[in-house]
Symmetry: C2
Subunit: 216 residues, 2 copies
Amino acid sequence: MPTVSSEELAAAAGVNSAKLRKDFSYLGSYGTRGVGYDVEYLVYQISRELGLTQDWPVVIVGIGNLGAALANYGGFASRGFRVAALIDADPAMAGKPVAGMPVQHTDDLERIISDNGVSIGVIATPAGAAQQVCDRLVAAGVTSILNFAPTVLTVPDGVDVRKVDLSIELQILAFHEQRKAGEESAADAADGTATPAVAKDHRKGPDGDVPAVMPA
Amino acid sequence: MPTVSSEELAAAAGVNSAKLRKDFSYLGSYGTRGVGYDVEYLVYQISRELGLTQDWPVVIVGIGNLGAALANYGGFASRGFRVAALIDADPAMAGKPVAGMPVQHTDDLERIISDNGVSIGVIATPAGAAQQVCDRLVAAGVTSILNFAPTVLTVPDGVDVRKVDLSIELQILAFHEQRKAGEESAADAADGTATPAVAKDHRKGPDGDVPAVMPA
DNA sequence: ATGTCTTTGTGAACGCGTGCACAAAGATGG
DNA sequence: CCATCTTTGTGCACGCGTTCACAAAGACAT
Ligand SMILES: NC(=O)c1ccc[n+]([C@@H]2O[C@H](COP(=O)([O-])OP(=O)(O)OC[C@H]3O[C@@H](n4cnc5c(N)ncnc54)[C@H](O)[C@@H]3O)[C@@H](O)[C@H]2O)c1
Ligand SMILES: NC(=O)c1ccc[n+]([C@@H]2O[C@H](COP(=O)([O-])OP(=O)(O)OC[C@H]3O[C@@H](n4cnc5c(N)ncnc54)[C@H](O)[C@@H]3O)[C@@H](O)[C@H]2O)c1
């Protein structure tokens, strides 16, 4: 039986082994002391807990440059997501095939959501249309939204929204870039006072620190 | 002189006003007690600290579905990013105009980076090509990379990488979605304890192995 | 069986970010 | 010039996530 120890996994992932064990312990006691974790069983348990064993139908609304790219992207299917429908407001797009399936008109949005039991929606419309598209999705039964439009969406309790803001990703890089440039000559004079988060760490983690406020 | 109080800003941003003030204090004492912050001056200070006053040239490598969408996206320019060049390995694409500029061949990658003083690169190639593209970018002088390919990139110290993984965004939504579904019947008694989200109580249940977390 | 050796699972300590509460600063009016 | 009122800047405490450290569980050999 192929096994791995928390120590090996932690080293591979670059994290603390105690934390890894504690995290695993929240899923249950799936390890064997003195041996480690049964790889296959562990993978199954984590997959199940993360919802990867289920098949989630999603709709993409707004089939422009970005929406079409998403529709064509094969990486979703391999993670358990199935593109159930592509929806656009442009009558000229209706029926046109994108990624092997016909684009449908927003008039049918509610029916599409309902017929396919969709609970996850992706918004790739212009910012101006995002909120109203969001409202219709929510009214139709969608309870999770991935938003690419550069707008803050307002949703009722119980609905999750995740916003992908590519400009902010670049801004974060630019911020560190600027810091690198400054360090060369800044010599970091004396100081010594208790200063803050923004300073030192270049974290590798997915989310770095993201400020709360910023104008357009 | 138009001003805002930390209280107003905090309310607008949905955060705590004390935290907001403390964050601002790291930039310096730009507020006036009894009055608030001079809007224009504050915006300037934050913009400067974030590097938004600079103009950053970026290159996009891999002009496929996603790369083309990014090239066409107008949201970058408004945040101080200028697409300096589009690069692809496909000879058929060379010279072809995308977003109003000709696609250039990877053969010229090093020269393009150098000529334009580019320090930020975007990778939108297939996963298989990402690491070698990354290596060339870094060797040519790029020190910040935004990676869309589903691969972990290895880079030398001093180089920042941010990975955008859209599948993970969907997985996070699906995870919460799954949880919502389970709660309906899970007799979730208002918790209150300081346990991690996944926690609850999973100690080996009646049948020994399957944790009580998610009935599915 | 009993002992040894490995690795888990977790109580307790630690560190850090967040929020509270308030003194000080400065504006404004009398 | 003093009183009052508003809002900043920050010391301090609290809570949460991370890490340490170790007892106990189990495998494996004798
Ligand atoms: N392209 C990118 O790389 C990129 C990057 C970051 C953010 N974004 C954002 O993503 C969104 C889409 O970008 P894009 O480049 O694909 O734009 P786009 O103009 O190419 O596509 C927008 C599509 O939405 C459709 N649409 C408009 N109103 C609609 C409505 N009410 N209901 C349904 N469909 C509607 C349009 O017909 C069009 O097909 C924009 O908000 C943009 O700011 C794009
Ligand atoms: N399309 C999406 O919505 C999406 C979403 C998430 C992630 N991604 C990832 O983004 C990447 C691009 O996706 P896509 O849909 O645009 O793929 P695509 O196949 O449409 O485009 C890839 C482009 O990269 C070019 N290319 C290949 N090797 C290259 C090299 N060595 N140097 C320079 N260019 C090279 C190809 O010629 C092609 O134009 C993939 O890794 C994909 O997994 C895409």
